[in-house]
Amino acid sequence: MTTSEGNKPSLETSWAPIPGPVNRESFFEAQRRNRRATWRLSAVCILAVLFTGIPLSLILAPPVYGLLLVGLALAKRYVAVPPEIWQTLVQVGSSVGAILDHFSNNKPLPPPDVILTAAAAVLLPGIVIQFFLWLGMRALFLRAGAGGVLLTLGARVPSTEDLKEKRLVDVVAEMAIAGGVPPLKVMLLDSEAGNAAVVGGSPKDATLVVSRRVLEELERDELQAVVAHLIGSAGNGDLHIAMTMVSVYQAFGLLNTLINAPFGPRARRALWALMRIGFRRGGTAEADQVSEMLTQGLQASDDLESRMDKNQQKAGCLSNAFSMVMLPAFFFNFSLKFTMWVFSFLLFEPPLAWMWRTRRYLADASAVQLTRNPDGLASALEKLSGIGGSIVGGKWASHLFIVGEHRGMPLELARQMEAFRAEHAGQQLTREQMIALAREALMQRKGFQLETPPARDDTLEKTTGGAVSFHPPIAKRLKRLQALGAHFAAGGSPHKTPRQRAVLALILLLFSPLLFLIVGMMLTVVVMLIGLNFVFTAIAFAIILALVRLIP
């Protein structure tokens, strides 16, 4: 396990009091703890997604009933519509009306069974639609696999001639033996970014994607740790979880696309591509492209919006009239998108990201189990935090990488720290002190500007604005590794001190009124949108119904 290259000379030459294991924890224990955390957070995620479904269903209900009424009005001409259907619809309408009366006209609250009927009638269609969209997307993308787009970016098979690439293949074989799994496929990316990911559909057909830069920068035991992290991640079932996670976004994206399909070519193209993978054409890479196509409308302007924009620029009489006709559809689409955004931003994305973080910690602990060398992973993470920033392959793969987008750690600084580590080996330096020292040294050099790499837009959390990253901060991971036995100067204990907790609580307390205000405002807007959407849709469908009746 130990290789010829000792990358920690400090441990052999002088036994300096390096801050060693703090609050020691065995890797089995760490794995159990992280598994439990995953379960807890998954439950929170499910609740959060369910809660998001409620307002969306409220927005979806009016057009669904409107379409139903128009459909019935048309059908009535050709076939006899049984009177029970009309009765049921009237009953639903009156029970919803009774509740609205209570709020607007101070009428007494109707009896509970009426409320229940109304709630079921209003919520069920939306919930059923969303549930089936999600199920469909999940089934589709589970088959296609995760992160396949990485394999299309010029990924190649490692050459047996090149010593470093041969080493990678060897290391993968070693780690597969350590984990008791069949050897995984390996692909290389000739990329400037130093990062590695595991992609695929199941642990059995997973593929490791490693960028060439990783091979250049990492020592053998560091590479081993990176590979062990990825194999552990696949073995823990992260690919399945990743796809389920992404399918939630995709279900929302599909809903948006379906609504836009009658109005623009882009949504139709996305649906067409989706049908193609539905009929087993194309592989993982296509799946990622379709994910992108489905959800791009959620972030940028979608077909409906661009059409409205175009109309407004024309500003003719005809296009104004067209805008008027389109307004309800536009408004419906907008309310849906805004509500999705608010609820995913506030409600389900943070627990989702935190849940995914527990998977990263779990994979770290698995890597320690496979290599029995926490130092290897610690120094690998440290190095990758410097070079792994720019993620290739877009957001549908970004969360599969071992390190995420690094924030504020320029490449030069990382290199300087690397030099410092060798220089100050044996000294009691925490990571923070090391960064400060390195920064100072760089600043003294003449004409040198520290440039923080630009933040990237193509990570999963950026779908809705990205309050919480899907990757834990490197410093935190290092602290956890320290608890697993890494002799790594991460600084401090992995757990917060009482003082830090108090400070955090105080900050939270101070900002809580502001937070409440923002959340309250957003929710008010959502409620207003739901109401306005109801009114607009009702008017639009009343006109359509009248027109349908007029046509002989």
């Binding site: 396990m1 010593l163 008791g180």
Partner: protein, 184 residues
């Protein structure tokens, strides 16, 4: 009513026994598989050594003794048979011989830098790692199996069905425990 309770309890017990038995069987298979994996990796090392010796023959003619000792150790390891203890001893001797041999390579800069030698060193390094990791996985599997068969109430199932405890792969003496350093 009482009959139903008795039947229910009996059914639950039977289901538990079946589940416990199956788990023990799958764990035992994993232990066997892990053991076979060690063999595979040891064989890999045996196959590697002739290549290694051939690669250096031209350079190290006057070190014939070391080369021969490596070859001999390999033959002994291959002939060691099925007995665990004698095999472990033979393999340990082979490890020692190869590490001495690799230390010798140090003294030949031209040889050390050659592409072929670097590649062979990587092979040897990786093979040693594979053996170590195969052992580690074997020991982990044994630990899990022994824990499963030894803990209550599964030990009630393990005993009658003849699930014997598996043995860890331990190194014999302290001399072997000092890992041979292949410094290159």
């Amino acid at each position: 009513m009482q009959n139903w309770i008795v039947i229910g309890v009996a059914a639950a017990a039977v289901i538990y026994v079946i589940a416990a038995f199956n788990r023990l069987v799958s764990l035992r298979y994993r232990v066997r598989d892990a053991w076979a994996q060690i063999d595979v990796q040891l064989k890999r090392r045996h196959d590697l050594i002739p290549n290694l010796v051939n690669a250096v023959k031209g350079y190290m003619d006057h070190e014939r003794e070391t080369l021969e000792s490596v070859t001999r150790a390999r033959q002994q390891a291959m002939a060691a048979g099925a007995d665990v203890n004698s095999r472990a001893a033979a393999e340990a001797a082979l490890t020692l011989a190869t590490s001495k041999f690799m230390a010798l390579v140090e003294a030949y800069p031209a040889l050390r830098a050659s592409e072929n030698m670097l590649s062979l060193q990587e092979d040897l390094n990786s093979t040693e790692n594979r053996i170590a990791f195969a052992r580690q996985f074997y020991n982990d599997s044994v630990m899990e199996y022994n824990t499963a068969r030894g803990t209550f109430p599964r030990n009630l199932v393990a005993g009658p069905f003849g699930f014997r405890p598996a043995e860890m792969f331990a190194l014999e003496d302290a001399g072997e425990r000092a890992a041979p350093q292949v410094k290159i």
